[in-house]
């Protein structure tokens, strides 16, 4: 068993938000319309702020003097603990929205639970993040409906995106040995218990959007596995502090 499950757990929370923020930031200047460009950048900013709080706390839990920057910029791909879903390529606008929709629906439930964590620091970050994610979930869900029940082309594209990303949703509910100990201490949330509510809510929005719930098998990848494009994402995110380790503003 890992000697420091709390550190591992906080890395997962931080990395999910950090990597999704990094992916979303790539839309900046490329959004389909100005308002959406600004909205995507704003959501990325919220998630980055949340990542900073989780990673700062992770560094404290580790107790080896690593701060948020050290953890974000000076770890290699195999040390990142984010879900496969959040690192998936932006693709087209529908792909980005489907990824966001699956994640927001999950993150909203997770943060709702974590507000009751027996660790007051985790509960406080969850309380803060929950309010911000309330905007995210509403927006991504509304986009799923607009695209699904939009034109023939938007319907086709969002259905393809919903289908393509579906296999990655299995990992969202995979509670493992890292979680176990923390769940018993009421520090962490048992993600496997979120599945039924998530599925019900996702199904309701997809139905409203005239979209089909995918029936394909979800994958059972363990957390910590990464896609091929993940290295490229990290290279872009980390190049400056890696090249100039002592650079300051």
């Amino acid at each position: 068993m890992n000697p420091n499950p709390l550190f591992e757990y906080l890395l997962r929370l931080g990395d999910n938000n950090l990597i999704l923020a990094q992916r979303l930031s790539s839309w900046c200047g490329h959004g389909p319309v100005l308002e959406e460009d600004i909205a995507l950048a704003n959501i990325a900013l919220d998630l980055l702020g949340q990542a900073r709080m989780w990673l700062t706390l992770a560094g404290e839990a580790e107790g080896k003097g690593r701060d948020e920057d050290k953890l974000a910029y000076h770890r290699n791909a195999n040390e990142f603990r984010n879900l496969l879903l959040v690192e998936q390529d932006n693709g087209n606008f529908a792909d980005t929205m489907a990824r966001q929709f699956y994640y927001d629906q999950w993150n909203y439930l997770l943060l709702g639970e974590l507000q009751q964590s027996s660790d007051a620091r985790i509960a406080a970050i969850a309380e803060k993040s929950f309010k911000e994610v309330s905007y995210h979930i509403r927006r991504s869900s509304e986009w799923i409906i607009m695209l699904g029940d939009g034109t023939a082309e938007s319907h086709t594209k969002i259905q393809q995106a919903i289908d393509r990303l579906w296999p990655y949703t299995g990992q969202l509910f995979d509670a493992d040995v890292i979680d176990e100990d923390l769940i018993n201490k009421h520090i962490a949330c048992d993600v496997s218990r979120l599945h039924d509510t998530w599925l019900k809510n996702v199904t309701a929005t997809l139905a409203e959007a005239t979209l089909r719930l995918p029936t394909t098998q979800v994958s059972a990848e363990k957390q910590g596995a990464h896609s091929e494009s993940f290295e490229a994402l990290l290279a872009e995110m980390q190049i400056l502090p890696r090249t100039y380790p002592n650079a300051t503003w």
Binding site: E35, E36, I38, A39, N42, I43, L45, D46, L47, L48, G49, Q50, R52, M53, Q105, Y108, L109, A120, A123, A124, I125, E127, K128, S129, F130, K131, E132, S134, Y135, I137, R138, R139, S141, E142, I145, M146, T197, K200, N201, A204, T205, E208
Partner: protein
């Protein structure tokens, strides 16, 4: 013989000084009116004032600037023995905006939050089509005939609206 007695600094004076520290993004409103300053107290063991502040949004880039502005305001008044504490819970809410702050926002061209933050709670099991938001009054012409163009504006705390009468776009400080 005259003895010059330096006026002792107390919490009330610090509050007053902080009322003069403007929000870096919206300079017409002070950080006190915005509800960012949560507490001012004196830690007699450390012989320090503690200023507890809370971020509006967790990714708000203004947070670091605000902390620096508070520090320089206190130093300008000769106070060196203080420390800033970041307080996350209870999470910042627009319900803490003062009446003075709301008025200043409107005069500046930003519509203040219309309802309490509690109205914003989302029921994830029934998110349906984007519904018409509560009518937000245009800060320019006072028309209630306005339309949401994006939930996210120039900063995370604002949404974008357009007035259907005077045709002017405006920022709406969203209830949070």
């Amino acid at each position: 013989m005259s003895i010059q007695v330096e006026a002792a600094v107390d919490e009330k004076m610090i509050w007053q000084w902080l009322e003069a520290v403007a929000d870096p993004e919206i300079p017409v409103i002070s950080i006190v009116d915005l509800g960012i300053v949560r507490e001012v107290c004196f830690d007699s063991i450390a012989d320090q004032f503690i200023i507890a502040i809370t971020p509006t949004y967790s990714g708000c880039p203004a947070t670091a600037v605000i902390a620096a502005d508070i520090s320089s305001a206190l130093k300008n008044h000769g106070v060196e023995n203080f420390r800033l504490e970041n307080k996350l819970s209870p999470a910042w809410t627009t319900d803490w905006l003062s009446a003075k702050g709301r008025k200043a926002l409107r005069e500046y061209g930003i519509a203040p939050p219309a309802g309490g933050a509690l109205h914003q709670v989302v029921d994830a099991s029934r998110i349906m089509r984007a519904t018409l938001e509560e009518a937000i009054e245009c800060p320019h012409c006072k028309s209630k005939h306005t339309k949401l163009s994006s939930q996210f504006g120039s900063t995370p705390c604002k949404a974008l609206y357009v007035c259907q009468d005077c045709k002017e776009p405006f920022d709406y400080f969203k209830p949070h």
